[in-house]
Structures are given as C-alpha cells and as structure tokens.
Amino acid sequence: MNVEEYISSGILEAYVLSDLSDQEMREVQCMSHIYPEIQEELTRIEESLEFFAMQGKMQTPDFMKERIMTAIAETEQEGEAPKPEEKTAKLRSLDEQEPSRGGRSMLLVAAGIALLLISSYTAFQWVQGASENERLQAKIESQKGKLKSQGADLITSSKSLKELRSELEDKKERLAFVSKEGTSKIALNGVPGHEGSRVTMYYDKLTAESYCEINQLEELSDDQQYQLWAIVDGKPISMSVFSIDENKQDWMKMEDIANVQTFAITIEPYGGVESPTLENMVVAGNV
C-alpha cells in the first residue's frame, strides 16, 4: 500500500472527526497499528484540531459549572469501574482529602502540600517497597488532619501557587525516576568517623542517568566542599562539587556516567580537586 497516498487522501481527517462508516473506522484503526506514519499523522491531526478548538474558546458562564456538576452527580457511570492501579490509587487518595468541590486551585494546593509534606526521603523509601501504594495511601490518610490545619497557613504563606506547582512537578519527576524500573537505589553509608552521614544515589545503568539525594551531611567550613565521585573501571571521575548550607538542595541531577561501580563522596578544598583524597572519604556505596 502507498502510505503517502493513503495519508493524503483525507481519510485520516475524517477518521478523527468520526466522519466515516464503522467499517472505514475499523480500517483506519487497523492501518494505524500497522503503519507508524499513519499513527503519527493521526496524532498530529488530533493535536491540530485540539489546538484549533483552544483558539476558539468561549468563556462558559459561571453558573454552568454548578449546573453541570449537579447533573453529573446524578448520573451513574456505565461500565465497570477500573481496578485501582498505581496512579489512580495515588491520585484518588489525594482527592479524598478534598471533601468538597472546592475547585481546582484548592485541590492543587492540597495535592502540592501533600507531596511536600511527605517529604522526599520518606516517600521514596516507601516507593521502593512492594506494597508501596498502600503505605503511601496510609501515610496520606494520616496526614489528613495535619493538612487541614497547615493548609490554610501554607496558602497564605509567601509561596505562590506557581511555586508550589513547580515544586510538585519536580517531585513528580523525582518520583517517576526513582520508582521506574531500571533505576537502582544505592545507599552511600558513612565510613568510620562519619557514621552519621548518609547519601542515596539513584542510578539507571541503561541510560547512565543519576540523581543524588543528600540525606545527612555535616556542614563544612567555608574553605571546604564535598566532592562526589563515580568510580568507573577503578578510576575516579568527578561528578559534582557542592556545599551544604541552609539553601542546600537535597536532590541533584548528576552528569550521565556509564558503567559506574562505586559512588563516593570526599571532603576536599573549596572548588574540588583532580583526584580524590581517600583519607577524606565520607560516604561510599557500590552499585
């Protein structure tokens, strides 16, 4: 079949508008499974139409929302409810802490707060576990009470919704990276003399991507910094030089390095050094 001709015949535009007979609809569906170009073109057409409609927005009168939500509340959904999968489970539990239809912004704030409160480290610990979702859900449940009182404070605090959103985006990204298949979690434990220090690396061997999560590191004097090393084929490669201060970032994206065997952090003079000073090692962990 000539795919180009098929695409330029206009049948795909008609398909997107459901403007075909059932048989033709099935034919296009079938073609789109066989030819990726057809699938791509379909997606482009759908996006164009969506974009087009967005250009032609008209403001819905305010009273419509209540009218429609009331009508929906009286309507049973048809078909079987899906089994709660991971994503729905998480999102639904966020939803349940929102007792009224308070509108989207309240929901966003609540979702943002929930994710911020269940702060990174603990959340990720659970995500590692097998029954991660139940635990996450249970934790969210237990945060409900706190949320209600803290919610108001947070909303009026200096943090704008926009900032909350961007933080939430970050958290979502983190969660996605640490929980995806292929990401290994490497605990960098304190070496003798630095027993209290702890750092966690998240490393995807396939893509060589890695993130560093600072769990506990002591503050250093002004002329010193921490330096993170990746040991590849027995040779140290410097990944990052950083300080711990009140604005410290506890989560950093690292340069992609393949075939890492060990991650280690040393204390070095400010600005870092070419090769690590082994006796100044703080934490280390094998991949």
Binding site: L49, G56, K57, T60, R101
Partner: protein, 178 residues
C-alpha cells in the same frame, strides 16, 4: 500542575471528583465554543455542553486511549449532541445550510473580535484559498460531515477530503505547530 492525560482518564474512569472538575476547568471553554459555533445562541450551547459532559461522564469507561486522544473523543460526543440539537431546532440540516450556511463571513458573528486568540483563527482562515476556507468552516467550525459538505457545495467528495486536509496543514503551518 499539568495532569497527564493518562492520569486524568484513570481518575475519570474511577469516578473521582477531582478528575471531572479538572476536565471541566480545562475543556469547558473550548467545548462551549465548539457548541456555540455549531448551534447558537448561547442558551443552546449551554444545554449542549451540559448534555455532552453528562455523556462524557457516563461513557468514559468505554473510552479507549488507543483509538485517539481524550479531547477528540469528547469533541465528537459534543459535536453529535450539537448536531442532533441543530436538527431538532431546524427540522433538517439542509434548511440550516440554505439559511446561512453559505455565508462564511457570518464567522465574524461566531468569533469575538475583541479576543486576540479569536483574531488568530479569523486571520488564519482568511489566509486560505476561498474554496479551502469554505470547506474548513463547514467541517471544523460548523461541524458538518464531509458528505454533507460535498452535497451542499456540489463538490466531489474527494475534493472535500483534500480541502479538509489542506486546511489542517495550513493551520499547523500558521500556528507553527510541528
């Protein structure tokens, strides 16, 4: 926060309030615009929007993402609802076409010239060849099927299909979509 479509659909299928609320906030204005352009005046568009949202909610579990994007599925429900309504209003769609369908310039009544984004649509349409513009208005704005346009304008169906396609291609170019 942008909720991924996949999450939104899962939320809707499980009957979550936040999901329908998000859906409304995100899509009601776009869908309302489509409803209004197919079947004005505003009172009609409001009824259509409500009926369509109820149908979307009721049938969301039948929506299969493999067959297309959520918006496409929704707008097709809305379009069918609007066209049914139009048929009832006007007895038959042909009467509607004869009444004002041929006048593509009535577009000016359907878009609000005060709104920059609406001006974009009007300008884009004006850049199209007359024949392509006419077809695009019927199909993408007034919600007619290709067959109906072919009959109304006495054009071969193939020509209508080609023009519908050119119009979308130009749209992408004009708005700099890939």
């Amino acid at each position: 926060m942008k909720i991924e479509e996949e999450e939104l659909v899962a939320g809707l299928k499980s009957g979550a309030d936040w999901a329908i609320s998000y859906l409304y906030e995100h899509y009601s204005d776009a869908l309302y615009g489509v409803a209004y352009r197919i079947c004005p005046p505003e009172e009609n568009a409001q009824d259509i929007l409500q009926d369509a949202f109820v149908k979307i909610w009721k049938n969301i579990r039948k929506y299969d993402p493999k067959k297309g994007r959520l918006y496409t599925w929704m707008v097709n429900i809305l379009r069918n609802t609007a066209i049914d309504r139009l048929r009832k209003e006007k007895k038959s769609i042909n009467v509607e076409i004869q009444n004002d369908g041929a006048d593509v310039y009535s577009l000016n009544n359907l878009y609000d010239k005060q709104k920059p984004e609406h001006i974009g649509v009007l300008e884009m349409l004006d850049k199209l060849d007359e024949g392509v513009k006419e077809t695009a208005v019927y199909i993408y704005i007034k919600g007619f099927t290709q067959q109906e346009v072919s009959e109304e304008l006495a054009l071969p169906l193939g020509t209508v299909k080609t023009r519908a396609r050119i119009a979308l291609r130009e749209l992408r170019k004009y708005f700099d979509l890939k």
